[in-house]
């Protein structure tokens, strides 16, 4: 068996494999639901209802999608340049930490200064956190997958230390929790009276900005060239190392924004369960979106819907909500295979 590139893939060739991948994902989930004693139709029906069944649930889905858009963008930007940033989780927390440091009353600034300051600081924190592994990669050739992964563990321990020490809420009754942000440092609601906050709008704007960077700027061209073939890019005079470092700053910055948005828009304080793995789920989001920034928005909404829906489904009929994680992981694997099959055919020689 051999893979052979297809010169001009037909429409069917481009549509059928991804469709089959989605079908396969649902098949796997159905089988697992049956194992847990749930009727697959009921399970998927409840997931759908839980995600979109009411105004409240729709807004909940949008809110849950917000951090995923940021981390999904962070990873899409990095992966396009073949910078394997698996550390968005830590970068998110770095952004959250800086937001809490600046936003809990240390500065007496009005909201229109406070919010941009916190956002910028959060971006900077996330960016700097990825700069380390990126420098290790460009200077010493250390694989960034493992270093960014290990940084996740290190940084979470650091956050744990902060929440039990310097950032501990004096009113927190011993819980590892930071003080609450001052009202000036809170992102307002997008629509008065509804739970959806401005972080969602910021995420959409970020997606648009990344899309413009990718398609219209020299940096976008350079990042893609470096990702596709760093040797040819370097030969042609593209400053490969600088491009990788710029990519790292952009990617880390976007992940840092996720932390800002979660703390400032939703939670109001930093705890150790601020992110239930948004940094890792962002990988699935980015891959499902084929690394396209606007696709990230759709993929994040899809993923958030499954999470929100699965939670409510689980409460209703007791099929564990980990079904959502399984669906996403298998969707990722089926989808990368499907994408390959849109470009290559299997040949028996």
């Amino acid at each position: 068996m051999r893979l052979e590139p297809i010169e001009a893939p037909s429409t069917a060739r481009r549509v059928i494999p991804p469709a089959l991948a989605i079908a396969a994902t649902f098949l796997v989930a159905s089988l697992l639901a049956l194992v847990a004693g749930g009727n697959p139709f009921a399970v998927f029906g409840l997931i759908l209802k839980g995600a979109f069944g009411s105004k409240f649930s729709i807004l909940e889905t949008f809110n849950s999608a917000t951090p995923l858009i940021f981390t999904g963008l962070a990873i899409a930007v990095a992966f396009r340049a073949k910078l394997w940033n698996i550390g968005a989780e830590a970068q998110l927390y770095a952004g959250a930490v800086l937001t809490v440091v600046l936003g809990t009353g240390a500065l007496g600034l009005p909201a229109y200064l406070m919010l941009p300051l916190c956002a910028l600081a959060a971006m900077l924190a996330g960016a700097l956190l990825l700069l380390g592994p990126a420098l290790l990669k460009t200077r010493l050739g250390v694989d960034e997958v493992v270093t960014t992964l290990l940084f996740n563990f290190i940084f979470l321990l650091f956050v744990s230390y902060l929440l039990e020490g310097p950032l501990k809420d004096p009113m927190g009754m011993g819980w590892p929790k930071s003080a609450r942000l001052t009202p000036e440092a809170r992102l307002p609601r997008l629509v008065e009276g509804l739970r959806l906050h401005w972080g969602f709008a910021l995420a959409l704007i970020s997606a648009l900005v990344v899309w413009v960077i990718n398609t219209r700027t020299t940096l976008g061209y350079e990042m893609r060239a470096v990702g596709q073939n760093a040797e040819a890019a370097g030969f042609a005079g593209i400053p490969v190392t600088r491009v990788i470092l710029k990519t790292a700053l952009l990617s880390g910055g976007l992940a840092g924004l996720a932390g800002f948005s979660e703390v400032s828009g939703l939670k109001g304080a930093l705890t150790l369960d601020l992110s239930p793995g948004f940094g890792y789920t962002g990988i699935v989001v980015a891959m499902l979106a084929l690394l396209h920034p606007l696709g990230v928005v759709l993929a994040a909404l899809f993923v958030a819907a499954i999470f929100v829906g699965a939670d409510s489904m689980s409460r209703a009929i007791g099929v564990p909500s980990y079904l959502a994680d399984i669906m996403l992981a298998s969707a990722l694997l089926f989808m990368v295979l499907a994408i390959l099959l849109t470009k290559f055919r299997l040949r028996r020689d």
Partner: protein, 519 residues
């Protein structure tokens, strides 16, 4: 071997046909190979030689036809069948694992994978016996990664002999050897042939074909178009048969050299792993001249090419461009200083496979010519790509297709256009025609000749001595990072250059001046 009619048929191909989609790679190919016979298989790139060998070795299954080995039918699609029946192949790109020793490479795959041990001692002693018998000197305990190219080829041949190969297929075996090493290879082959080995010799070096083969088969567009006894044919006829037409190469008229545009004074660069760096090189490229750099691959060509491309900087010595040394040296500086760079590997270094033609066309100039303050001007870029496609005869459906889908020749034409449009006065052409068919070869050579005529200084790096001798005004030979004196056109015979390529003569000459002197 005139008595081949009577000798035993060891390999018989009957009506082999193989199609890849709409492309027919082999069409009804039939021939016999006899015991102790050497067949030369000639053909351009893409003529179907590799496909034919892949079918023999079970990597592909033929759509029609059958193969017989020693009178027995060969089961199709079984990679081990041909090996086990006694067919060995020495690939053009060696199939050796660098982290293993010589004996480990030779014994790889010989015993079944479930065998409990490797029997190192017996293996090594058998290798030593074979090495002695066939004059293939190599240390069984040496790591392959540390061997020279010539030694590696000996390991490849030993691999086949160790498996008692009765048929040996050699794919472009001399491409990486000095003329002297090639002669030693022929000695070994003659020895083996006299003891009954049969050989299929794939090559495009016609003088070698004349020297070693008994029979010549010519493949063109997948078909066997001619078969001649070697003694009844000549090089001109063979060349014409390969291409299907008379070959016309551009002619280079002698003319006086212009001013030096680039000069190196005692320039050294560090070694890169096994590849040697430059050793105190003195060197000049003059306007209106093609300077040929001959040498066995891996002797410092990469270092010189990387240096002129801006990828590395000298560790010692001085480089001057147009009389002054550049303050900073990088690929961008090289381009800005008017150096056109045609890289050795157009797939890996010259282009980005999944970029379209537009994106590839502006790879070197996007920052200076196709963007403003960081914003891309895609309209202008696409127009530029279209002008290259027209101006340099790049055959393709349009500027929006991925360059991966272009043939090597068209890919090279795009690279050529990309760099020549900048009106460079120095051109670095590293193996510019390797793997191209004759039409594209002539096109590329013609463009280099035109650039020379308008006063550019051209450095032509090639392993093909014929190409070097045909095109160059002056020739240098490089060996282990050292450079020979410059030899003026027509002053050296191939054998003399071969002696330099093998590393002789450098010590007696010591430091050369870089100025042309007829040695």
């Amino acid at each position: 071997m005139s008595n081949s009619e009577k000798a035993q048929v060891v390999l018989r191909l009957q009506g082999i046909t193989k199609r890849f989609g709409p492309v027919t790679a082999n069409a009804d190919v039939s021939f016999d190979l006899h015991r102790g016979e050497v067949i030369a298989l000639l053909g351009e790139n893409g003529a179907g030689k590799t496909t034919l060998m892949n079918i023999l070795f079970g990597q592909y299954t033929a759509d029609e036809g059958a193969i017989e080995l020693f009178g027995q039918p060969l089961p199709p699609g079984a990679p081990r069948a041909a090996l086990d029946a006694g067919v060995g192949m020495v690939h053009q790109h060696f199939t050796l694992a660098d982290n293993l020793t010589v004996w480990e490479n030779i014994v790889l795959g010989v015993d079944h994978l479930t065998a409990p041990t490797l029997k190192a001692r017996q293996v090594k002693s058998r290798i030593r016996d074979l090495a002695e018998r066939f004059h293939l000197k190599v240390d069984p305990n040496a790591r392959v990664g540390r061997l020279t190219v010539g030694e590696r080829q000996r390991v490849e041949i030993l691999k086949a002999l160790y498996r008692d190969a009765k048929i040996l297929i050699l794919d472009e075996p001399t491409a990486v050897l000095t003329p002297q090493e090639a002669e030693a290879l022929f000695t070994t082959l003659r020895e083996a042939i006299s003891s009954g080995l049969s050989v299929i010799f794939i090559s495009h070096k016609l003088h070698e074909v004349m020297a070693i083969s008994h029979r010549v088969l010519v493949l063109r567009h997948g078909q066997l178009v001619a078969e001649r006894a070697t003694k009844d044919t000549n090089r001109e006829e063979m060349a014409a048969l390969m291409v299907g037409a008379e070959v016309s190469a551009p002619s280079i008229e002698a003319r006086a050299a212009g001013a030096p545009l680039l000069s190196l004074r005692a320039v050294s660069t560090p070694d890169q792993g096994a590849a040697p760096g430059l050793k105190a090189l003195n060197f000049e490229l003059c306007a209106g001249q093609i300077t040929g750099l001959a040498g066995v691959s891996g002797n410092g060509q990469a270092a010189l090419s990387d240096l002129l491309s801006g990828l590395i900087t000298p560790s010692a010595g001085e480089m001057a461009l147009h009389g002054s040394s550049p303050a900073r040296w990088s690929p961008r500086a090289a381009i800005a200083n008017g150096i056109a760079r045609i890289p050795e590997d157009r797939h890996k270094t010259g282009t980005i496979a999944d970029f379209d033609l537009t994106e590839n066309a502006i790879l070197e100039t996007y920052a200076t010519r196709f963007s403003q303050r960081g914003w891309m001007d895609w309209g202008k870029a696409r127009a530029f790509a279209e002008s290259l496609i027209k101006g340099y005869d790049v055959r393709c459906p349009g500027p929006d297709i991925r360059i991966r889908l272009l043939s090597g020749g068209n890919m090279q034409k795009l690279i050529l256009g990309r760099v020549l449009e900048e009106n460079p006065d120095i051109i670095l052409a590293n193996q510019p025609v390797r793997g191209l068919d004759i039409g594209a070869v002539n096109y590329v050579h013609g463009e280099l000749a035109k650039a020379r005529a308008r006063g550019a200084a051209v450095l032509l790096i090639s392993e093909d001595l014929d190409e070097i001798m045909r095109l160059s005004d002056v020739i240098h030979v490089i060996s282990e990072g050292r450079l020979s004196p410059a030899f003026a056109r027509g002053t050296m015979r191939p054998e003399e250059l071969g002696s330099w390529m093998a590393g002789h003569g450098f010590d007696s000459h010591g430091m050369d001046t870089g100025a042309p002197d007829a040695a």
